[in-house]
Assembly symmetry: C2
DNA sequence: CGTTTATATGAATTATAGTTCATATATAAA
DNA sequence: TTTATATATGAACTATAATTCATATAAACG
């Protein structure tokens, strides 16, 4: 089991339309299953299946309160990931030819090709 | 076609083990197909298929140079996304019960539940 | 208790995606 | 102008995942 397999599972878990819908609602605050289903206009069982998938990836956690079960994000940084990836996706689909300053390996000058530019 | 569908496609495109392997190599600098295939120890045609998928999502772009075709990330921020999501995934899988300070909607006090805490 | 409300689950179906293999294309080199 | 090298492609196969439906569980309420 490689790190890429784990990371892929994690990203694919987030990368499903209905689950993204759920997660974006949970960014605003915790919600119960029925609430999610009705807002998203999806079947309760479908939402339940998706919540289970999210829970298995530790992306959400649940808490029972009377009959209802409330779900919330396990970590605030998930909200960032969701929001940032949406923004990035939008930009990339608009601008297919945005330049990146990595050089060919043999041509790299120092300072280029760094992963996290100080901005 | 909703924004969640687009975003899901984008995240799923990144969220595949071999493509993540490719992308992590491209974070270091551009590479040609054969180079990627040999480092990853995968068939050339498989890598080629995956590169096409990445290209269709505007995640990578290619540039021919003699017989070789070099691929690179379209945007530096993709490196950030890949690195940050790996870090987050690792933390979440270690710590399944990390608290997040969103309140139930009806219980939210001002300042809680904000998306991007100033940190 | 029986009934309503809320959620979960499993099996069956359908849809989507990854992989392999054979082969096509295209540039460069002999 | 044939041969070698590098990459792309399409079809067939296989694997994985999403959706639906029927039903199970479980708490609350009359």
């Amino acid at each position: 089991m490689t790190i890429e397999e784990d990371q892929a599972r994690f990203l694919r878990c987030i990368g499903e339309p209905t689950r993204l819908g759920i997660l974006k609602l949970l960014v605003e605050g915790e919600k119960c299953v029925g609430e999610l289903a009705s807002v998203l206009n999806k079947e309760q069982s479908l939402v339940s299946h998706h919540l289970r998938a999210l829970k298995e990836c530790n992306i959400v956690k649940d808490e029972q309160e009377a009959q209802k079960v409330y779900y919330k994000l396990t970590d605030v940084r998930l909200a960032r990931l969701i929001i940032d990836s949406e923004a990035l996706m939008k930009e990339l689909s608009l601008c297919k030819c945005q330049e990146v300053n990595y050089g060919r390996e043999e041509n790299q000058r120092s300072g280029e090709g760094q992963i996290c530019p100080t901005s």
